[in-house]
Structures are given as structure tokens and as C-alpha cells.
């Protein structure tokens, strides 16, 4: 059978319902404003502009002129990727027909359907997409606040923080202690903290082999745990100590001035401390009033539309959708479903049942990559996982190397998919 995508099924097609689109041709074009030019927002803006062929006016509001990906920032830390390669500009999105405004969104008036920017500009919208990533919950790690991030970096929003953490690790005194305060669930990138530990261990193994790593963790279990623990034993034997909640890993306090970490009452002097605090939806989602008590923004599983407002969509880390982990891959996948649904509402284009997927690669040591992934479908209640897989302990070196190389391909692929 030969199919050609340029074939049209002009008459045979089951035109189920006639269009009820609010747009009247000839009137002003419908406007979509996207806040946040990251994994969710950039993808959504690009697909809306590309697939609507100019029928929708797409404006992307992004605080930073250059986006630094969190994904692969751990590899930068480990010396496997250059910082410059984590950075992406918005020129190609502009070329694709997206109006990119480099400013901070400070207000959302859902009744008037406007967004206000720090610079004073007011943008009207027909549909609003929020993909602002995460912010940190105040007080989640006693003794730490954003003011202390210059001493004890979070490095959980990529950029100068990531560079600072790398510098600190490389400058650790011989035999010093690296501490990580791991975050409680849910947070962005479930395997992220543990991939980071692997990368720090890789640096220390060659530069500072008597150094120690401790992880204070409030969680009983973490993603890819068996794979990471196996890898740490094989590559960094005796270096990494994981302190779970049974041993006080959830009862921590940090003292940035003194460079001390207190775990279950026991004080440890540390040379470097990476505090990854508890997280919540990006502030603008809260300002827009689409978050709930969970501090995340609930969405409809079949479209990513906010449950609080039928003209607002929330993508990526900020959304509460069900089973998908907060990852760049998830945000990108959700953005495509959202772009399709919004186009459907504004231009009457066809919509199809939502499909979502995610895969997260992690690097444990040179050429030792692992991955975990799942496919998801909407149920009436949530986005539910329907199938999953994970790398196995004991895979041969060739497979692990291929997995790592595949992650490089994924990085090239997703950044091209986001930014054009």
C-alpha cells in the first residue's frame, strides 16, 4: 500500500462535527501568549507557529535572552559537555514566526485576558500557555534560602549556578566532603540529583580521590536507585554515602556561614554543599491563580488545559497532570498535545487523541549510560503510565556506551525540536 501524506481525503472523511471556532475569518488573528521559553514553552510556541501557518499570532515571553538547558548540565559538571553547548537563543523561533519578547511576566488578568510584563507592556490573549518551570519552596531546608545560594548552590536552574557548583567541586580541598541535600517529591528530573552525584564522583575520583560524598535524602527510594548504586560501587567504591530517612536523611539543617551540615543532630564540616530545595510551580502560575494547595497547577489530562480556566494551559514542571515525571522530555511531549488542542480551538484544525511519552537518560561514568522511560495516556482522572522500561543492572559495556551515545542524539533532537 502506498500512502502519500499530501493526499487529501476530500470527501470520504468523516466530518463528525462542524466547526464551532470562535474565529471569524477576516477579523483579527487569534492571539496566543506563551510565558516561559523552556522545554514546554518553546516547543509549544514553535509548533503553534509552524502548524498554523500564520493563522495564529504567537508571542513568547521569556525572562532570559539565552536559555541554558538543565538537561545535560550534570554532564557539563562532570566535564563531558561544554557549557556553551547548553545555551540556546531564540532567533530561529523568531524566524519561524514567533514574536519573542525578552521580559519578565509579572501579572495575569484572566478575566480581562491580559498579561502584564515587568517593562509595563500589556499583552492581550485568546489563549495563554504557562510553562514557567519551577520555583523553590521557602523554608524547605532549614538554614537555607535563595540568599545562601551563592555559598551553597542549588544548581537546579541551569546557568551561573551550575558554573558555580562546578567551580566549587573542582576547588574542594583534598579529602574534603561534598554534601547534597536531596529534594522531597515531587521535583524536576527524578534521577537528576543522582546523576549529579555520579558526575561529582567522576571529577573527584581523578582530582581528589580521598574526598567523600554524602547525600542526605528525605526519600525512602529514588529513581534508578539500583542502577546508580551498582554504578557507584563499580566506579567510585567507598566514596558515596547515601543517608535515607531511616538514618535521619530527612532531618537536616544547613549553616552556610560555617559550611556545616547537620544531619539528625550530627554536625559535619563540608567543603561543598549542593542544596536542592523542595519545589513548586513557577511563581507566575501562582500569580495567575491556576495552582492549588498542592502548589502545582492541575490540568485536564487529555489536553493540558488548566482546570481553573478554559483559556489557560499549563505545561511541564508547573503542571499537576498525574504520572509523568517533571522532565524536559515530558514538557516537550505535553507541548505538542497542547499546541494541537489550542489550534483546534482557535482555527478549527483537527485534533487527535493525546499520546504522551518520556525517556530520561543518565550518565553514571564515562560511556556508562542508563535510561528509564514510559508511555502515558489520558484517563478521565489523570495522565496515567501504561507501559515502562528501565535499563538493567549488569548490561554489557557496549550497550551502556550505545545508551550514552543515544542520549547525545536525544539532546540534539530535543533542542532542535524546541528551538528550530
Amino acid at each position: 500500500m502506498k500512502l502519500n501524506r499530501r493526499h487529501f481525503l476530500g470527501t470520504g472523511i468523516a466530518a463528525s462535527a462542524l466547526l464551532t471556532a470562535p474565529t471569524v475569518w477576516g477579523q483579527a488573528k487569534p492571539k496566543v501568549v506563551v510565558i516561559g521559553g523552556g522545554a514546554g514553552g518553546a516547543t509549544a510556541a514553535r509548533y503553534l507557529a509552524k502548524d498554523s501557518d500564520g493563522a495564529i499570532e504567537v508571542t513568547l515571553v521569556e525572562a532570559n535572552p539565552i536559555y541554558t538547558t538543565c538537561f545535560f548540565s550534570n554532564l557539563y559538571l562532570g566535564g563531558f559537555y561544554e557549557f556553551e553547548k547548553l545555551q540556546h537563543g531564540y532567533d530561529k523561533l523568531t524566524g519561524a514566526g514567533v514574536t519573542v519578547i525578552n521580559d519578565m511576566a509579572t501579572g495575569v488578568d484572566r478575566a480581562a485576558r491580559t498579561v502584564t510584563l515587568a517593562g509595563g507592556q500589556v499583552l492581550p490573549f485568546d489563549r495563554l500557555i504557562l510553562s514557567p518551570g519551577i520555583d523553590f519552596r521557602d523554608g524547605s531546608v532549614p538554614g537555607w534560602s535563595l540568599d545562601a545560594a551563592e555559598i551553597m548552590p542549588h544548581a537546579y536552574k541551569a546557568g551561573p549556578q551550575t558554573q558555580l557548583l562546578k567551580k566549587q567541586v573542582e576547588e574542594m580541598p583534598e579529602g574534603g566532603v561534598f554534601a547534597m541535600i536531596a529534594p522531597p517529591n515531587p521535583y524536576r528530573c527524578p534521577p537528576g540529583p543522582y546523576e549529579r552525584i555520579s558526575m561529582v564522583a567522576h571529577i573527584l575520583k581523578s582530582k581528589n580521590p580521598t574526598a567523600k560524598i554524602i547525600i542526605a535524602d528525605p526519600k525512602e527510594k529514588f529513581s534508578k536507585q539500583a542502577l546508580f548504586e551498582d554504578g557507584w560501587n563499580r566506579h567510585y567504591a567507598g566514596m558515596v554515602e547515601w543517608i535515607g530517612p531511616d538514618f535521619g536523611g530527612g532531618k537536616v539543617e544547613v549553616r552556610p556561614e560555617a559550611m556545616e551540615v547537620v544531619i539528625d543532630g550530627e554536625v559535619t564540616k563540608v567543603a561543598c554543599c549542593n542544596v536542592i530545595p523542595g519545589q513548586k510551580a513557577g511563581k507566575i502560575a501562582e500569580i495567575a491563580g491556576v495552582t492549588d494547595d498542592s502548589v502545582w497547577a492541575p490540568v485536564h489530562p487529555d489536553s493540558m488545559k488548566s482546570k481553573a480556566d478554559e483559556n489557560v494551559w499549563v505545561l511541564g514542571d508547573s503542571s499537576a497532570q498525574g504520572d509523568m515525571p517533571k522532565s524536559g522530555f515530558s514538557a516537550n511531549s505535553q507541548a505538542k498535545v497542547a499546541a494541537m488542542a489550542i489550534r483546534g480551538e482557535l482555527t478549527g484544525s483537527k485534533t487527535f487523541p493525546a499520546k504522551y511519552s518520556n525517556t530520561c537518560w543518565s550518565l553514571i561514568a564515562p560511556d556508562d549510560g542508563v535510561k528509564v522511560g514510559a508511555s502515558y495516556e489520558p484517563t478521565p482522572e489523570k495522565i496515567a503510565s501504561v507501559e515502562s522500561f528501565i535499563s538493567e543492572v549488569g548490561e554489557d559495556a557496549a550497550l551502556r556506551k550505545a545508551t550514552y551515545e543515544e542520549s547525545l542524539g536525544w539532546y540534539a533532537g530535543i533542542t532542535a525540536d524546541m528551538f528550530g
Partner: protein, 236 residues
Amino acid sequence: MTTARRSCIAAVLFALGTLPGASEEIGDAARGADLFARQCKACHQIGEGAKNRVGPQLNRIFGRRAGSVEGFTYSRSMARMGADGLTWTLQTLDAYLANPKALVSGTRMNYRGMAEPEARAALLAYLRDWSDRPQDIPEPEPTARKTDPDLAPEVLALRGDPDYGDYLASECQTCHQADGSDQGIPSITGWPEEDFVIAMHAYKQKLRPHPVMQMMASRLNDEEIAELAAYFATLK
């Protein structure tokens, strides 16, 4: 994207509307809680602080090896099944609840079994709530039953529809670059359609080994695979 194509679309403008969720919840967890209280609780604890009693505590049972709760002494039969690789999933737990002795002949669980499939589904949904959440740990057992990739007739009627091709292909393009570059992930642009179709079916049947591709292919039906083959063959 050509204007010709767009005007064609305008001519056949229609809105399918978003279809209801395709996959199914495991079951009614509220009913499951009630069943648990009446039929299981005498021997098993679940939830915060659950301890082993006559039977092992049941937190995190999904994805766990049979016979592996620390500090609990199992029947030899159950321990052997665990050693042989029995893992608790939706399918294995369902079979065990239906008739414990059918799955583990020498189990000490003194329970006749639960005949009604819906009741088992409800109980499983309740037990699932106390296992790992994929949002936090992406690898755990699924939380919903996967539906067949068989699609509704309205969707099948879209075969050969460029919009549907666009949408399906967007999922591939998170990893496979449209312009055909390949760095670590092969290019799928410009393949002969037949080769594409054969490769996808080989993943779907799990003949080709890659887990991501097996998963992606497993939820595509024949028409969708053909659609994608056509899409990528003609992609410029």
C-alpha cells in the same frame, strides 16, 4: 507547509473534539479500600507505618519480587516463586487474588480467592495507591491498563491525512531530527516506506531489541505505522 494544503484543509474543516481518555483506570480504589477493610485487614497492613502481621505489609507491592519483604517469614513455596522471578504486577496480582493456590501452590495465605473481576480490579487500584508513583520514580509499574492500539473509526478514517501524520510524527521528532541529522540516534527521514514499515513492526513484535522503540511502536496500529512511513519518506 504550502498554502494549497491549507486551503484544502479549510475546505474540509471539521473538529473532531478531543476524544475521551483511551486507557482505563485500574479500578475503583474507593471500593477497593472497603474490600480491603473487610477481607484483608485482619492479616495485612498497608499505609503509613504498616508492619508485618500474620501476612506481610503491602506497601510498595507493585514491582516487588514475591517473597521479598524484609523480616517476614514466607512459605517455602512463596520464597521459591520469588527466587524464580515472580514479580507482583497488575497481571500476577490479579491472578493471585483470583486464586492464590493456582499461582503459588503452597502459599500460607488462607484465602479462597476473589472471583469477581471488578472487585479484584478495585482492590488492585487501592493497593496501587500505596505503591511508588511514576511521577516521582518513573520506572514503577503502570497505573492504568493499556488499551489496544486499535483506534476509533473516526480516527482510522483519517488515514492518509497530513494533519494526522504531522501529529503522529511530532512524537518521533523529540529524538529523530526532521532534517535527517543523526548523532547517536539514527535518521528516519527519507527511508523507503516499506523498510520503515518492516522496521516498526519488528519493534512492535519485540524482535528488534530497543526498549524505547518497542514502547513507541507498541501503541501504533498498522495504519498509523503506514502513515508515519509515508510522512518520513516524503519529508523534505
